[in-house]
Symmetry: D2
Subunit: 439 residues, 4 copies
């Protein structure tokens, strides 16, 4: 008889894993994880081993009843899994670096989610996801897949549109980050804030904010605007980096990623400078990761190190644990996930994937109804959704012309000749990870 | 400083009230009701007094910190109320009796919710609700109104379409009753069943049933069909009174009220016989109520008497307490309420009131997304929704021609001449409660 | 090289055919019909021969360059056809008689289109239509099929939902009849009236009426109401048989068939009396047809006889000629047809068949946008549409349980036990024409 | 008694007017124009006089029964008008020059319709349109307003959303130009081509092309791609300036204006070079106009000069005459206009203005149903529609912050700081024409 849950984490060697492990340990009273399988590929073996050892120390420290397994054999791990989380990064940070630096050469923002960089991340990731799903169909057909591999929304669009697999949820920490920023700003407990989110991954909007049942949306905008007033872009960065005038007209809470589409020039200058100085995000993250892994390898360490939060993935793995917990325990709480819209937000078709406040039960996520996005952002979101759908199609079909069109139509590109040159260089750079285009 | 909730119950003299009081007592740890105001009209004073005394004994028995107030002055009660529940019955059971007996004379089902009877109940009720809302706008503008006065959906349609008041929820016990019947049938704890409900009040459908995250919809239909197999209509009545073939084709869980539209002839024969024998539902309920109030008046009684459940309103007041509790405590659980659709069910417009599974937070109910109703019932539900909208319009405007049209188009009537005769007799019978038509 | 059109008329022995032939003759300047193939089955051979001879005399009289062919071999006829019209009646008038008389025994209206009678007509007709389409796919894949076999909307729903054939149009004369009645009533040339029609076959509504660009909708309703004022149902029959109050509340122009759903009792009394007296519509038509065919057989007759208009199909065949003419000549005029909604009327889904004002070009019909039906009729139309969809499903699948459900949910039935008895008797009565149910 | 039509042309001194006059003369058999009132403002008096004299000579030459009136008094002209056309240009070509040159300084395309230039054209134009409508409400409440003042779609959005005036049609020649290009390319008579257009003004798409009822969409794309194959952007310009790969992926016929969003860089380089060389479009047009007016002033000229077609407005005024003719004569032909969507194109809400194939009758335009735009362009169109709606709002309310947001969100801008600088310079440059922002 089954006595606990089997969790499989694909990309187990990720620097995020300690938060995930901590998350399961924290919840051990209510979430009976018995086996955690960390899976990675040959190239990630060294990191996987470090993480595995750390995980074992963390478990041992609190005497938790969780077996830690480590394997390069994904299929062995998936057998009878209850939940599968994915946090792998095809081509690792070197690939991300290319996603950022190559577009910058063309005067274009790479933008890991919705821009050219995100597009190539999707083209590399989707074929692997499809393979994982084929394995799951055979080995663990009742498992839920919680995917926080970016671009979380685009990947979910591809999986839910082109495979028959329904138990797939795309997850991102940015709504949680936004709520925490609002809480800090308003000096309110984020647990007592409820924000109605809708939109797309990295293009999500807090349409209304409630505190103890009161609609405090206007106060939040006002506070955010007042806080940012008179500050430069850099000074605003710790909240949400928008001017008071912009926030007032927007009239809802933006994702921090909106800056790529409304502050494009300043973002581009940053990106170009970072590329020149060898400090693009991938490079920064790489250095942080090196330090983190040095840290993780310390045999004395048996807790999640504080430094991990600096990594930018704060709340990420915790969000995954929380989602698993709500599904397993049928909590019926509201979390923000990437799932089929089905009428939740009137700006999208029923069969399109959106990032939306959803009630999470044992049956999975169900969007709650939030109405239509305001004109201020509906158009941009629809633009990105079209881009996502064409990218998903190109990724599945391995059709280079469709990929070129998707890149051309991206609001950060908008020029076919430029797109073509950029596409070719990115394709070539990522060739080993794009088998569907090089058949 | 405020230290507890003020609840106002309009129609406080109702036989349902002891369940409501019991509900508040049961929840006293988490729901700090400090004042319960029972409001009624002069004609209901005797019952109100009996209920008030019983309520005081019930509270005293458990030493609960709830003040019981009793008044005929609604405005005094409403001042600074936190929650207002309505369970009044304009014209009391005598009016209901007319709603049932008069149509039967014409060979037509009265049908308290969606039929001619329900229509006249709405015509009598809506003007009173509008008055209450005017009072609330002045005296307790932040209060939630939880209305379980029938027809719950039609009344909500009128309030939400024709007044600016948003914090209004129509409530019915029938989804809860259905879940309990399924639980009993399947030998499963109803608390562990989740049923996706959508449709209209008394025309609501359980589209999917989940038990511990598994979709057991088919098993439920099969079990229901097997249980009903070979039984007569009367023998089937304790579950849901439909034949196996019907249930299999319907392929979702019907409301018991569906029988008026799919078993019309047998229902009509019953109704006519009941009318002749003086045992129409109103008369039965009247007798039960007389016994109940005799019981309530017993100074030794200080709990909710068992007999109340027989009354047909089991779970009714408890549903109201549960809803108040979830709003006050921001529980975020899923309850079935009558509220604006807003995309929840694709068969209805965003601005139409539906009865639908909704997540209940401090902000009120929010429908979850359930997709489209099946063809088997979408058409009938849309038919009834049109009837509801025209009836609401007639009730607000006091337009007799619109009322005639609404009655004619009702699927239980469908004949203008008949509708006209019936309308005139019902109008005259209820004249004192229909001031908007006799200006 | 092709020098003219080949038209195939399935059910060529129909009494309507002379109007069709006259229609082609009238249009010979612009519509170059070179071959008209009249197709029928063995049982209809006698009538077919009479029609064929009459057709030849009509053609000869005006020296038209149209070859008349007559055959029992449908496949021979269909080869390379340009247009196929269907006006066959499976089981002929004897079957219709059963559709009318059997329901009347149960106290139910047969109602040839939307009621039980119409349902059985659909169950008999749809398999034959599917066969014809299979033949057309092979023999004349570019042909348009213009079907005026009733129930025109339900048949079109079945064909367009369950086959891949797109060039299929359901056609009914009732919108034309309505426009002529309005014209007569208002003393205006019907050709100068434009009425926006939307709804379903035999449940179609004139939402707005324009005369020379002026919206005269209100005047039309007023005139109709004034004309009908003080008249009995029978006296109103030559216009549209509704009372002034009804018309004012309806606020759009109803189809005459609406009476079955808003004047049900009077219609039922008529039907029962007609059944008893042997003068149900099928019997009346049968007598008219006998006279007509006696007439048609007269070797001296070489024009369409006046008596045909009495038959109730006035404008029917002319509508078909007109539709063919507009397609062939790319006229782009507006005609009312049964076709996919595609956004034309907001009350229906894009993939549902509606009867709607459409612009007719060489590409076929395209609905024009008319917005939403009023609440007065939207619900009923949606109810009937659900009935149509289930009936089409039952007809295609030969599923008796689905047929029973469809019959039960019909607003003229609403009782399962009654529906079951009625279904069984009708099934048995039409058994030879329902092979899909007796496999 | 009225014996002919009174037409008022606001902006009568436009160089387009001779085509309009020719259009009326050509149609004199069917379109009984009796009075043509050319209205302009003081600043345009010289041109108005030249046009008036030419118009009189043109009319005299063919002995047409059309009175030519010329006035600076708009209200005098509007009295009892049947049709009002607008072709005025607030601030004339000098303003357009600023719309083009100022953005170019910021590295941004001005883009007269959907870009910053178009936005300022709308901000200048909409207040004047509102004034005209106020006059029409008083002086000619039954008149149709045919507006070909750019941006035609955005202006229509403002009028139809913010005024009660319904008889307003925005008109653009680009669909006609596209059809002519296809005709030339395919060597087919454009009159025999039918293209289903949908989208927005200057962002319209030919979804399907039919020739004699055959869907030749694929052949058109193939022919266009083959023609453009191997050509440079400049060489492709006489057809539609897109590459074969782009056209194949787009899979519908694009507007030439799409190049601003898919060929942005090349367009921007052109714009910057033109600005530097003093040959931006406004300057080119200005020179053409000077030559045209020199020409028009020639007392010997009494026909529309050939040179006018070079102006870029070919088919423009003819489209207006054709629209007037179809309304007046109730032709029911299909023309492409800017009007309320009402279900015509599934990518837009019912109450949004779209540019769409519509059947034109005496009642005005009615969209035909074309379904959903493909993903390739739906997102961009929705993006621009949001921009249009915010711009219309800013224009009506005179709200500078909303204007800033609209400019920032435009896909050609996407940067708030840049938008702010650009907005300020454009506001200042156009100050005299933006009274609503300088109250």
């Amino acid at each position: 008889m089954k006595t606990g849950l089997k969790i499989v984490t694909i990309g187990g060697g990720s620097s995020y894993s300690p938060e995930l492990i901590e998350g399961f340990i924290k919840r051990s009273e209510t979430l009976p994880v018995r086996e955690l399988w960390l899976v990675d590929i040959e190239a990630g073996k060294e990191k996987l081993d470090i993480i595995t050892d750390l995980a074992k120390r963390m478990v041992r420290r609190v005497n938790a009843n969780i077996e830690i397994h480590s394997t390069l054999n994904r299929r062995e791990a998936l057998k009878n899994a209850d939940f599968v989380t994915t946090q792998f990064r095809v081509g690792q940070l070197d690939a991300r670096k290319k996603d950022e630096i190559i577009p910058a050469k063309y005067g274009i923002l790479g933008q890991e989610t919705n821009g050219p960089g995100g597009m190539f991340k999707a083209l590399r990731t989707i074929p692997v996801l499809i393979d994982i799903i084929h394995d799951c169909q055979e080995l663990c057909p009742d498992a839920w897949i919680i995917s926080f591999t970016n671009p979380a929304g685009l990947n979910a669009e591809a999986v839910l549109r082109y495979t028959g697999w329904k138990k797939f949820i795309g997850l991102c920490n940015s709504p949680t980050v936004i709520v925490h920023r609002i809480g800090r700003l308003m000096n309110l407990d984020p647990k007592q804030l409820r924000v109605d989110f809708a939109g797309l991954n990295h293009m999500v909007f807090g349409l209304h904010t409630y505190y103890q049942g009161q609609d405090i949306s206007k106060q939040v905008i006002d506070a955010l605007a007042a806080y940012n007033d008179g500050k430069t872009y850099e000074e605003r960065f710790d909240t949400l980096p928008y001017t008071p005038a912009f926030l007032h007209e927007l009239n809802c809470i933006p994702s921090p990623y909106l800056r790529y589409y409304f502050y494009k020039d300043i973002m581009l200058q940053h990106a170009i400078k970072e590329a020149e100085n060898g400090c693009c995000r991938a490079q920064v993250v790489k250095r942080i990761e090196q330090e983190l892994f040095a840290n993780y390898a310390d045999p004395a360490l048996d807790v999640k190190p504080k430094e991990l939060e600096q990594r930018g993935g704060a709340y990420y793995s915790d969000a995954a644990c929380s989602l698993i917990d709500s599904i397993y325990n049928d909590r019926g709480d509201i979390q923000v996930v990437n799932t089929l819209n089905n009428g939740g937000c009137a700006s999208f078709a029923a069969d399109e994937v959106v990032e939306i406040s959803s009630v999470i039960t044992k049956e999975g996520p169900r969007p709650i109804t939030v109405g239509r996005l305001p004109d201020q952002v509906e158009g941009l979101c629809r633009h990105i959704k079209s881009f996502e759908k064409l990218t998903a199609k190109a990724a599945i079909e391995g059709n280079r012309e469709t990929a070129l069109f998707a890149l051309t139509m991206n609001p950060l590109v908008q020029d076919e000749a430029l797109a073509k040159a950029l596409l070719e260089e990115l394709m070539e750079a990522h060739r080993e990870y794009l088998p569907q285009f090089y058949k």
